[in-house]
């Protein structure tokens, strides 16, 4: 009996030590930075050191008063929205078609769609920029061009979650729907779409967020600064102007806005886990 308790104690000790490095990383490199960022946003620029010295709302006020920057944020949201819609329009049918293929072909298609994600994003955007300059120079420096660029980069992020969910749909459900007299369209609307909803929402989140906060796409595809996105403002404030506190304030406003949107999208996910093949992980 003593042996067992001793073993238990050793086990507990080991497990404790196992977790220490992780919690160190989590606290120092994830939690504290966020906290510091919030603190920094209320400080005057060029302050260094961990401990806050002054307090000012200037950065927030400067940002919110500048119509140009507020407009930059909202246009980023519009661009992200357009991107999300286009990827959805292309991605959903694409995922649906994929589920109809032979298994071998499905794997091929999956790899083909997946592969670009492993290629460095800057390379892909540069490639797209070259093509655009060659064949459609009017797209450069335009809203449409930026959206196309974003769709190009983030399409796989929409296709994959939808495909994952669609492929898990139990065909028996579809057959019973047909047996009960539902037409193909009705089956689509009342059965397939709701069941795939969680995948769709997942895809929406994975496209909308990066699209709204991108810095690369406008710098490559709109080099004349005609499409000024919120990411550009943060980047220039930090790299060119060294205004880290100001950038922190802008980042926090951006976070609040995004949190609001994400919260809503997550609430729409009513059908999570309805599909019998889904397993709750946590």
């Amino acid at each position: 009996m003593q042996e067992v308790i001793h073993q238990q104690k050793k086990k507990r000790k080991l497990e404790f030590y196992l977790g220490v490095p992780y919690y160190a990383v989590l606290i120092i490199l994830v939690v504290i930075p966020i906290f510091l960022m919030i603190v920094s946003s209320f400080q005057y620029d060029n302050q260094s050191g961990i401990f806050p010295i002054g307090f000012t709302l200037n950065h927030y006020l400067d940002f919110l008063k500048a119509t140009a920057f507020v407009r930059a944020m909202t246009s980023s949201l519009w661009i992200a929205l357009a991107t999300t819609l286009v990827t959805l329009i292309i991605g959903y049918p694409l995922a649906y078609l994929m589920t109809k293929m032979k298994t071998r072909t499905q794997i091929t298609m999956l790899l083909l769609i997946n592969a670009p994600m492993w290629i460095n994003m800057l390379l892909r955007v540069r490639a797209l920029e070259q093509i655009m300059r060659m064949f459609a120079p009017f797209l450069i420096d335009s809203f449409a061009g930026v959206v196309i660029g974003l769709v190009y980069v983030y399409l796989p992020f929409m296709v994959l979650p939808i495909y994952a969910v669609l492929s898990k749909i139990d065909y028996n459900l579809l057959e019973s729907a047909a047996d009960l007299g539902a037409s193909k369209t009705k089956t689509l609307i009342k059965v397939i779409i709701p069941l795939s909803l969680s995948g769709v929402l997942s895809g929406i989140l994975m496209v909308f967020l990066p699209a709204a906060t991108t810095i690369i796409i406008p710098q490559y595809l709109a080099p004349s600064q005609n499409i000024y996105m919120i990411g550009t403002l943060i980047e220039k404030s930090i790299i060119n102007n060294g205004r880290i506190s100001y950038a922190s304030a802008v980042a926090i406003v951006l976070s609040v806005v995004i949190l609001g949107i994400v919260y809503y999208i997550k609430k729409l996910d009513k059908y999570k886990g309805v599909n019998s093949n889904e397993k709750e992980v946590y």
């Binding site: 620029d45 400067d62 500048a66 119509t67 140009a68 920057f69 507020v70 407009r71 930059a72 909202t74 246009s75 949201l77 519009w78 420096d141 080099p223 004349s224 600064q225 005609n226 000024y228 403002l233 220039k236 404030s237 790299i239 060119n240 102007n241 060294g242 205004r243 100001y246 609040v256 806005v257 949190l259 609001g260 949107i261 919260y263 809503y264 609430k267």
Partner: protein, 395 residues
């Protein structure tokens, strides 16, 4: 799995071994494409000192990096940045007795002498650049234009840049190089201490000038102004103009009469540097042959009088571009001075102007923006409210 770990550990050892003792290394922090790499290699061979080159593309970045604790042995900032570094005690005074290949009293090109004197003799704000820097290149800012497509009569002051309906125009993407033309065009007395009214006038000038058809560029100019030139007019540095004009003979360089910014870049030695290495490199670069090779390669005006005179004389490399190579400080030309407040104002305003680019000035926020603001605001408020209600219900 274990073998993999072993391999990684081995690699680690190998890496640390490789990168260990390399002999003396000079850390040179310079603008990109601003030195002939052949010269750097020649220096390494001659002196046995390795040169590690790090590049920056703006003075602001350079200063931030130096302040941030990065140690360099030589940096090549511009005049106002040199001033800031000196005031903030980040660089040491130049010991001119250690400069053997160049004499600041006799060997300076005339144009540069007058620029340096202008700053030194400024009544209110004197600063002796030579106390902290060894001149590297100098020049001014003007408009590089396509002689084929631009009617010379249209070249009338900095306002020429407003002719975006007729010509393809490119501004330079930097706060200073945008505000300087603006301040000059709107009649500001000095670009270093504009009044609020003058500053706002400049902002308006820029906002009106930066229409959707106007481009804002930096390094693209090297590619874009080769034949056939993509832009009819582009704000450019004199050295870049020299280089481009030698590659494309359909280009000309125009400096508006209202005045422009004349500048000098120089070697400075940060505190904590390996000064022996720094002086060795400076002496090497200021040597007659090397300075000549450098100016021929980079295209900017050399500070050495003998090389300079040779370049613009008959048979010299820059004979045809004597105008843009021989930069003189004219009556209305100014050197930028260190002014922290103005710099911050300009930097912030410049981003705003860029964000406004292409939008109608009187539009204000516009319908799209308002819809988005209202929509998102509603989302945030209702989600917060719902969150609170949910919590209350759970209790």
């Amino acid at each position: 799995m274990k073998k993999g770990l072993l391999l990684i550990v081995l690699l680690a050892f190998v890496f640390t071994l490789i990168s260990c003792e390399q002999g003396p290394t000079l850390r040179l922090y310079n603008w990109g494409e601003y030195i002939d790499d052949e010269l750097v290699q020649a220096f390494e061979e001659e002196s046995g000192i390795r040169v590690k080159q790090i590049a920056f593309d703006s003075n602001e970045v350079a200063i931030t990096q130096i302040k941030g604790g990065n140690q360099y042995d030589l940096v090549v900032p511009s005049d106002y940045a040199i001033e800031q570094l000196a005031i903030e005690e980040l660089i040491v005074s130049i010991d001119w007795s250690k400069i053997t290949t160049f004499s600041k009293d006799t060997d300076l090109a005339d144009g540069l002498s007058s620029i340096l004197a202008n700053v030194k003799n400024d009544a209110t704000d004197s600063f002796d650049l030579l106390e902290y820097a060894v001149p590297y290149f100098w020049g001014n800012v003007g408009i590089l234009y396509n002689t084929d497509t631009v009617n010379e009569n249209d070249l009338d002051g900095w306002d020429t840049l407003h002719l975006s309906d007729t010509y393809e125009i490119a501004f330079y993407n930097s706060a200073r190089d945008a505000f300087m033309p603006a301040l000059k065009a709107t009649g500001a007395l000095t670009i270093n201490h504009p009044t609020t009214a003058e500053f706002n006038a400049a902002v308006t000038w820029l906002s009106n000038g930066l229409t959707a058809q106007v481009s804002v560029i930096t390094d693209e100019i090297f590619d874009a102004m080769l034949d056939p030139a993509r832009y009819d007019m582009a704000v450019a540095y004199s050295g870049d103009a020299n280089y481009l004009m030698s590659e494309n003979d359909k280009l000309g360089f125009y400096v508006p009469e209202e005045g422009t910014n004349v500048w000098m870049d120089g070697f400075v030695i940060p505190k904590g540097a390996e000064e022996d290495l720094s002086y060795a490199f400076i002496n090497f670069m200021m040597d007659y042959e090397n300075a000549k090779q450098n100016t021929e390669y980079v295209g900017y005006s050399t500070p050495r009088k003998d090389v300079f005179d040779e370049m613009i004389s008959a048979g010299g490399t820059f004979e045809d571009y004597a105008d843009s190579y021989d930069v003189r400080i004219n009556a209305n030309d100014e050197v930028y001075r260190y002014n922290e407040d103005l710099k911050q104002q300009m930097d912030a305003k410049w981003q705003e102007i860029l964000a406004n680019k292409g939008f109608d000035q009187d539009e204000g926020l516009g319908t799209g923006t308002l819809i988005a603001i209202v929509g998102v605001g509603l989302l945030i408020v209702t989600s917060a409210v719902l969150g609170v209600i949910k919590k209350k219900k759970a209790v």
